[in-house]
Symmetry: C2
Subunit: 337 residues, 2 copies
């Protein structure tokens, strides 16, 4: 089996690739498991060394739109496409045309390429919780269901929601076997701050664990909906393995999220790494960031995801202990328990 | 004031143009009324004679996508755009690429043209009840609200729903002052059958009134949601006159619809033109048409439209009497009352 991951060298794409390579096979859309012969990583950047070293990995580096226009991706040979590549929300707000090109045009080109390939590959589209946004004219419901109306409040969310519609119709037409999944805010992301409004939701844990100061720009009682990297990849993979009947409607599935508060996250950090860790958090409210964060939904009733056997992370402390275990090189404080 | 109507020579576009020209002015987006200097009709076909004869009418004939690519439309000079041009649902199902080009690409090009013009014109986008569709995997709610999740079951509906998203984001960015309105099934349409699944909802009245036989492919108890041509144009115009505050959210407004049944429509025909008329209806069920028609929603709670002062037609008999009054040349049977 050949698999394509766009954005395959990013944090989630690389983790998905590692998970697939480790399990060595994939049971696609309810079919029996097939051994993985090749994982194609399409990305602007080169793969991490461990992926580069795996003989089953093929890296195709470049701009996705150009790759698709030039026929550089082996779409006729892949049984599954995981479309994770995207310009992030901040970029899309700063450069409208970039977002339209990277998120809308490239998604449509990729779907067109699959349509021309003619064998209806499984197509997992990573949409986002950013399709939901609160506004004074249209309040979000208190609890988001799979059937709640998305009302995106930024271009990134609009482009993701349009992508869902394209995937749905290309699926209905039999051009692909589409699976729209909405990813929640991922925490704890390893690495460095990325400039997103949500960046602090990883940074306020990651930096103190590394012995560095971190800023928390919202009040402790701020509610957020999070998913660990591992649980997020689990949701993406389940979208690929579910049969059409298990998957159900062509509308998007909200992946499960742990609802917690920023204060509870800090308490979990204290349980894991002591007061020494939480003393490194600077609680400096930023009204603009707070407005963005509180405009996101924090409570979900993800019925379809639960029916697929998915679940939210059990606690933020569990998420944090996973991070510590998976990123020993990034943790400088002594860990308890 | 200069106004552009795409699809301006079609049935609804021409009626909108006549209404605007008759009132002679327009109070745009809550501003004081301004006299109408020019109404530009962009369409593949030439305008009806009465519109062609009006000195304020300018007709620009051709393919909308080509007109936009070639800069043939005076976007810099228009204060309002009514975007009615579209490939219809049957065409979009038969020719996927045609639908994507006519409904998605042309809408985006038109929005881009307005953005480049730089003065944020009012942009009324005629979306459609076709964004709603019932499927075994995702049932429609019994009553459709403005916040009900669209689940389009055909490419036309998907393309219209994507258009709504584009209009919403171009509005949020300040490129246009967008107004997404969802048109209901229009009945009684004058003219000839048009091959749409809904065509009989006009034909079963129009043809008998002209003394011709007509087929009704669904059972009398089939519920439908309809709007007269006059009421539909009233809704489109109200979208243009509403201030941003009156309009509210950037999501679409469902225009009011009269919920009736096909049997009640036949009874109204009998009250208007006697048993002689209803004897001309052939009740010949067609399972395929019935499946499409019963997949459409028939009950709406159009809160936003009602708050804007719009209302459904009062009865199907009133719709029918309007048709008879407006189309005397098409009525051959004697009319009662």
């Amino acid at each position: 089996m050949h698999i394509l991951i766009t954005g395959g060298c990013g944090f989630l794409g690389a983790r998905l690739a590692r998970t697939l390579l480790a399990q060595g096979s994939l049971a696609l859309a309810g079919a029996p498991a097939q051994p993985l012969a090749r994982v194609v990583l399409a990305d602007r950047v080169a793969p991490p060394a461990d992926l580069q070293a795996d003989a089953r990995v093929q890296s195709i580096q470049g701009d996705l739109g150009e790759q698709l226009a030039g026929g550089a991706l082996p779409l006729a040979e892949v049984q599954a496409v995981f479309h994770l590549a995207a310009a992030v929300s901040g970029e899309c707000e700063a450069d409208f045309d970039l977002g339209m090109r990277s998120n809308l045009d490239a998604t449509r080109q990729l779907l067109e390429g699959c349509r021309r390939a003619g064998h209806a590959p499984v197509f997992v589209f990573s949409s986002s919780v950013a399709v939901f946004g609160d506004s004074p004219e249209q309040r979000l419901p208190a609890v988001i269901e799979d059937t709640s109306l998305p009302t995106p409040q930024n271009s990134y969310g609009i482009q993701k929601f349009i992508g869902e519609q394209l995937v749905a119709d290309y699926t209905r037409k039999g051009f692909v076997q589409g699976r729209n999944v909405r990813l929640m805010t991922v925490s704890v992301r390893p690495g460095r701050p990325n400039g997103a409004a949500s960046s602090f939701l990883s940074g306020m844990l990651r930096e103190p664990l590394a012995g560095e100061r971190a800023r928390c720009p919202v009040a402790p009682e701020t509610a957020v909906a999070l998913s660990s990297p591992g649980n997020t990849v689990r949701g993406i993979l389940r979208a690929a393995t579910a049969s059409s009947a298990e998957w159900g409607a062509r509308t998007a599935v909200n992946l499960p999220a742990l609802t917690t508060t920023v204060g509870e996250m800090a308490q979990a950090l204290e349980r894991v790494a002591g007061k020494e860790a939480t003393a490194l958090i600077d609680w400096e409210p930023d009204a603009q960031v707070a407005k963005i964060i509180t405009g996101w939904p924090s409570r979900f009733a993800p019925k379809r995801a639960l029916a697929l056997g998915l679940a939210a992370d059990e606690s933020f402390e569990a998420i944090l202990r996973d991070y510590v275990r998976e990123n020993p090189q990034a943790v400088r404080l002594a860990v308890k328990g």
